[in-house]
Symmetry: C2
Subunit: 95 residues, 2 copies
């Protein structure tokens, strides 16, 4: 629970999660098939450096909110909706 709360304690990471809720709308010129959105597009949209965004994505992945799939030199990220929902409900019950 603490890792998840820490993952959500950052504006950029909240934004990324929100964008990935509706990839087609937020990444119109990207191939956002069921694999998700590639790291490069996410990086561009945040306006931060590639290394910073990579670290953010890693935090979100470690918290269980994102799943990653490598396809060649591209890595696609998508939300793990089940984990996100489970966390939200768990938190609701814990508080």
């Amino acid at each position: 629970m603490i890792d998840e709360c820490k993952a959500l304690s950052n504006e950029t990471r909240l934004r990324i999660l929100n964008w990935l809720k509706d990839p087609e709308a937020h990444f119109p010129c990207g191939d956002t098939a069921e694999l998700g959105v590639c790291a490069g597009l996410i990086q561009q949209k945040t306006g931060a450096s590639a290394s910073t965004v990579s670290a953010h994505l890693a935090v979100l992945q470690r918290a269980g909110f994102l799943q990653a799939t490598r396809r060649g030199q591209w890595i696609y990220y998508r939300r793990d909706e089940a984990r996100i929902r489970a966390f939200a409900e768990d938190l609701h019950h814990t508080l």
Copy 2:
């Protein structure tokens, strides 16, 4: 939302919130009338220093999770259930 998530990103603070869910059960030898639990009892139960616990309680108060009432030299803390519930639901909708 970020302040709230940060407030929850600490084991001791989570514990305090949980204890204050049911004050009578967790603080049996304390006067836990509707004012809540006095800071000294909370401090003792955490096992941390008074200054540390004071800082934790301040974080929880700033996040809106706790309300404080001073009665003479004692300060009593209680949960703000409405704010806690609102945050949990807001988070649920945001994620």
